[in-house]
C-alpha cells in the first residue's frame, strides 16, 4: 500500500512538473508551434534577441499585462523565460491586471509613486499619462537611440497616440479594422448575396432602409456602440469621408466648415428617426452591440476579428453562419489603424534600460508572431509578417485574414484622432453634440459648430 502511494505521488509530481516545465499543446490554440523559435529557442536566438545596450545588472522589473491572464499566462511566462535567458541577471515579475479596473489601478499606482516598470494599456489611456509627463519618451529612447528598431514598427501604430508630437508608447498587438462580419442566415432569408452588400457608408444608408423594409422590421443592417465610442467614431467618420479635422498647424479643428460633416450627422439622425438602426445604439457599448448581433437581429457587425469569439460564446449558430468581408469605407477610402495595445514605461523607473529591453523584447518579431499564433491579433512589428505563417490560411473564420495583414498595416494610416489634449473631455464634447444632433435638440450644422467650438476652447486652453 505504501509503495502504491509512493508511486502515485511520484506520478502526480511528475505530472505537475511536466505541466510547469514544458509548453503544452492546447486544443484551443491550434496554430501554436512548439518547435518554433519562441517556444524552443536556442542560444543563437537569445543572442539575436539581445538588442538593448547597458541593461542594468541585477534589475528586477515588474510587468503589468492587461486582460491577458490567465488565458495567455503560459505564453506570457514563456516571454519572461526567453527574456531572462536573453538578458541574464534581469528578473521580471508579472502582475496580471484584470480587464475591469485596470485603468484605475494604473492611475493609482502613478499617484502612489509605485507603477510597474512596463505597463500594457489600451491606446486611449496613454494620452492622459503622457500629458501628465510621467512616461518615457519613446521617440528618444528608441527612435533616436535605436533607429533600426524603431523602423521595424508599423508607423501608424507608433504614432497612434502622441503628445506634442512625441510618442510615449511602444505599440504591441493590433486589431484589423478593415473587415466586418456578415450574418449569412439573415442574408439568405432576405434573398441577398455578399455581392449585394454596400461597400461604402453612403451606400449603407439606403441599404439600412432596404433591410428594414424587406424584413418587415425584423432585422437591422447594423447597430452602433455610440454609448461608448461615439467620440472617436464620429471624428473617424469625418476623416473617412475626407473631411479635414484639423487646420494646417493643428491648432484648431475645422471639420464644421465642411458641410458634409453636418450631412453625416443628418444621415444618422434620419436613420434613427426612421428606425433604420436600433435606437439602443445611442447607449450601447461594444459588448452590447456584439450581444445584439449575436441575438441574430443584425446583418453586419463591425468590430475587430478578435472579438468574434464573443459571438461564438453567445450563439454558436450565428457564429457558424458568419462570413468576413471588407469593412465599409468612406468617400476617402481611408484605411486607418484600429485599436493598438501599447506598452509604456514610467519616466522615473529605477531600471530604464531593463524596462526598455523588456518592452522591445515583448514586441519583437518572433515574440509577436508567436502571439498571433495564439489568438487572431496582429503584430505591430512588420518583420513578423515575413514569417510564412502570415501567408497561410487555416480552418478558423479569422484565419483567412492573415495573408491580408501585412499589406493592410503597411498602408493603413493613423487618423490622429487620439492626439487631443484632455482627450476624455473632448470625447464627452463630441458625444454630447452628436447626441444633440441625433435627438433633434440642435440642427446638425449647429451641433457640428458647437462641437468644433468647444473642442477649440480645449485646444486654446493648452
Amino acid at each position: 500500500m505504501k509503495r502504491l502511494t509512493l508511486i502515485l505521488l511520484i506520478v502526480a509530481l511528475a505530472a505537475v512538473v511536466t505541466n510547469v516545465t514544458f509548453a503544452q499543446e492546447r486544443p484551443d490554440r491550434p496554430n501554436r508551434d512548439l518547435t518554433g523559435v519562441f517556444w524552443n529557442p536556442s542560444q543563437a536566438d537569445y543572442d539575436r534577441w539581445r538588442v538593448i545596450d547597458g541593461v542594468e545588472e541585477g534589475a528586477e522589473i515588474r510587468f503589468w499585462p492587461w486582460a491577458l491572464t490567465p488565458d495567455f499566462e503560459d505564453y506570457l511566462n514563456q516571454i519572461i523565460k526567453n527574456f531572462e535567458a536573453t538578458y541574464p541577471g534581469v528578473k521580471v515579475i508579472m502582475e496580471g491586471q484584470p480587464a475591469a479596473g485596470a485603468r484605475d489601478n494604473i492611475r493609482n499606482s502613478f499617484a502612489a509613486g509605485n507603477p510597474a516598470d512596463v505597463i500594457n494599456m489600451s491606446d486611449g489611456w496613454v494620452a492622459e499619462l503622457a500629458e501628465a509627463g510621467v512616461l518615457m519618451n519613446m521617440d528618444e529612447a528608441v527612435g533616436a537611440a535605436y533607429p533600426e528598431i524603431r523602423a521595424e514598427y508599423v508607423d501608424g501604430a507608433w504614432t497612434k497616440v502622441t503628445f506634442n508630437g512625441v510618442s510615449y508608447h511602444i505599440p504591441w498587438y493590433l486589431a484589423l479594422s478593415n473587415t466586418m462580419a456578415v450574418n449569412t442566415l439573415i442574408l439568405e432569408e432576405l434573398g441577398l448575396t455578399l455581392e449585394d452588400l454596400p461597400k461604402t457608408w453612403e451606400e449603407s444608408f439606403a441599404f439600412a432602409k432596404r433591410v428594414r423594409e424587406e424584413s418587415d422590421g425584423k432585422y437591422y443592417l447594423y447597430s452602433f456602440p455610440w454609448g461608448e465610442l461615439a467620440g472617436l467614431g464620429v471624428l473617424n467618420a469625418f476623416v473617412g469621408e475626407g473631411i479635414p479635422v484639423y487646420n494646417d498647424d493643428r491648432s484648431q479643428v475645422i471639420f464644421n466648415t465642411e458641410p458634409r460633416a453636418a450631412g453625416i450627422l443628418a444621415a444618422y439622425k434620419e436613420m434613427l428617426d426612421n428606425d433604420y438602426i436600433p435606437r439602443a445604439s445611442l447607449t450601447d457599448d461594444v459588448r452590447e452591440m456584439i450581444d445584439r448581433f449575436s441575438e441574430g437581429e443584425i446583418l453586419l457587425l463591425q468590430t475587430g476579428p478578435q472579438l468574434l469569439r464573443l459571438v461564438r460564446e453567445n450563439n454558436e449558430e450565428v457564429y457558424n453562419s458568419l462570413k468576413l468581408v471588407n469593412a465599409l469605407v468612406g468617400e476617402a477610402n481611408i484605411r486607418n489603424i484600429g485599436g493598438v495595445q501599447t506598452l509604456v514605461i514610467p519616466k522615473d523607473t529605477k531600471f530604464p534600460k531593463a524596462a526598455l529591453a523588456f518592452a522591445i523584447f515583448v514586441t519583437n518579431a518572433d515574440t509577436q508572431t508567436a502571439f498571433s499564433r495564439e489568438v487572431p491579433i496582429y503584430s505591430s512589428n512588420l518583420k513578423s509578417y515575413d514569417d510564412p505563417f502570415f501567408q497561410t490560411t487555416g480552418t478558423q473564420l479569422t484565419d483567412s485574414l492573415r495573408p491580408l495583414a501585412k499589406e493592410y498595416f503597411t498602408t493603413a494610416v493613423n487618423t490622429n484622432i487620439l492626439n487631443f489634449p484632455r482627450l476624455s473631455e473632448v470625447e464627452q464634447i463630441v458625444l454630447g453634440e452628436f447626441q444633440a444632433a441625433l435627438l433633434g435638440v440642435k440642427s446638425p450644422q449647429q451641433a457640428a459648430d458647437d462641437m468644433a467650438g468647444r473642442i477649440n476652447a480645449v485646444l486654446s486652453s493648452q
Partner: protein, 317 residues
C-alpha cells in the same frame, strides 16, 4: 495655627483622602472610557477626518491624481459656479429627491399590508426584502433587460399585445432616463424601508385602532390619525436617510447608463459629475470642489429636513 476638628466632625485629611480616591477612580473611569473610544476614534480620524481635510485642501488645487497638486486658490469654485453641468447635476440630484416621499408612502403601505397575522406572511416579507439585499449591479443589469429596446420585458410584452406601435424609450430619451433610474431606486428601497416601518408598526397599541373603530373611523382614517403619528419617529428617520441616499445616488445611474449618465447627460447627478471629473477627466481638484459643495448641500438639507419634521412632530403633540 492648625484648626482642630470638633469631636465627631469629619477628619479633613480623611475627607481629602476620600475625595482624592474618588477623583482617582473618576479619572481612571474616564481614562478607561477614552481607552475604549480610542480605537474607533483613530479609525474615524484616519478614514474620515484626514480625508475630509484633504478633500477641502485639494479643492483649492489643480490635481490630476498622477502628479503633485498645484495650488490654484478659488479657481475651482469660480469655474464650478459657471459650469452648466454642475447646475444640471445639482438640479437632477434634487429631482431625485422625489423618490423619498414615494418610497415612504409605498413602504408604509406595504408595511401595513404585511403587518397582519396571516399564515405564511413572513414569506411575503422576505420576498419584498430581497431587492434590498441584491447587488445593485445585478439589479441594474436586470432592469436594463426590463427596459431594453425594442424587445426588453416591458417593450416586448406591450408590443406583443399590440398596445404600443413603437418601443418606449426608457433609457434612450433624455426625458425618461432619470425617471427610469428612479424607478429602480424605488423598487430597491421599498423592502428595506418596509422593514423599518414594520418594526415601528408593532409598537402602535392595538387598542387605539379598536377605539377609533368604535368612534366610527374607517380604515384609511385609522391609519391617517393613528398609524402615521404613531410611527412618526420612523418616518423622520427614513425621510432623512432616504433623502441623503437619493442625493448621493450613483451606482444605479452608472450601471443603467453604462457609465455615461444617459443621453445628453440627462441622468447626470452631482455625485456622478464628481466621479466623471475626478476619475474620468482626472480633474481631481475640481472634483474635490464638487465634493465640498455637495457635502455642504447634503448637510444643510439634512438639518433642514430634521428641523422641519421635528417641528411637525412637536406641533402634533
Amino acid at each position: 495655627m492648625v484648626s482642630t476638628p470638633y469631636p465627631g466632625s469629619p477628619d479633613p485629611l480623611a475627607a481629602e483622602a476620600i475625595a482624592q480616591g474618588k477623583r482617582r477612580r473618576e479619572r481612571r473611569r474616564t481614562l478607561t472610557a477614552y481607552g475604549f473610544l480610542l480605537p474607533s476614534f483613530v479609525f474615524f480620524f484616519i478614514f474620515l477626518i484626514i480625508p475630509l481635510i484633504t478633500v477641502v485642501y485639494l479643492s483649492f488645487t489643480n490635481y490630476n491624481i498622477v502628479t503633485a497638486p498645484q495650488w490654484v486658490g478659488m479657481d475651482n469654485y469660480t469655474r464650478l459656479f459657471q459650469d452648466p453641468l454642475f447646475w444640471r447635476g445639482l438640479r437632477n440630484s434634487f429631482i431625485y429627491l422625489v423618490v423619498t416621499p414615494i418610497l415612504i408612502t409605498l413602504s408604509i403601505a406595504l408595511a401595513i399590508v404585511v403587518n397582519r397575522k396571516l399564515r405564511g406572511i413572513f414569506v411575503f416579507r422576505t420576498i419584498y426584502y430581497i431587492p434590498a439585499v441584491t447587488s445593485v449591479v445585478a439589479v441594474g443589469m436586470i432592469f436594463e433587460i426590463v427596459f431594453a429596446e425594442p424587445s426588453g420585458l416591458i417593450n416586448g410584452v406591450l408590443l406583443a399585445l399590440g398596445w404600443i406601435e413603437r418601443p418606449l424609450n426608457f433609457l434612450t430619451h433624455p426625458d425618461s432616463t432619470l425617471i427610469s433610474v428612479m424607478l429602480v431606486t424605488i423598487w430597491r428601497g421599498i423592502g428595506f424601508y418596509m422593514v423599518i416601518f414594520l418594526a415601528a408598526l408593532q409598537a402602535v397599541p392595538e387598542e387605539l385602532y379598536e377605539a377609533a373603530a368604535i368612534d366610527g373611523a374607517n380604515r384609511f382614517q385609522q391609519h391617517l390619525y393613528i398609524t402615521v403619528p404613531g410611527i412618526r419617529p420612523a418616518i423622520i428617520f427614513v425621510a432623512i436617510i432616504s433623502s441623503i441616499s437619493a442625493l448621493k445616488v450613483f451606482e444605479e445611474i452608472f450601471v443603467m447608463t453604462d457609465g455615461s449618465a444617459g443621453v445628453l447627460d440627462s441622468a447626470l447627478t452631482l455625485m456622478f459629475y464628481l466621479y466623471r471629473q475626478g476619475f474620468v477627466n482626472l480633474n481631481a481638484g475640481y472634483a474635490a470642489a464638487i465634493a465640498v459643495i455637495f457635502t455642504i448641500v447634503t448637510l444643510g438639507f439634512s438639518i433642514a429636513n430634521l428641523r422641519f419634521l421635528e417641528r411637525g412632530s412637536r406641533d402634533n403633540r
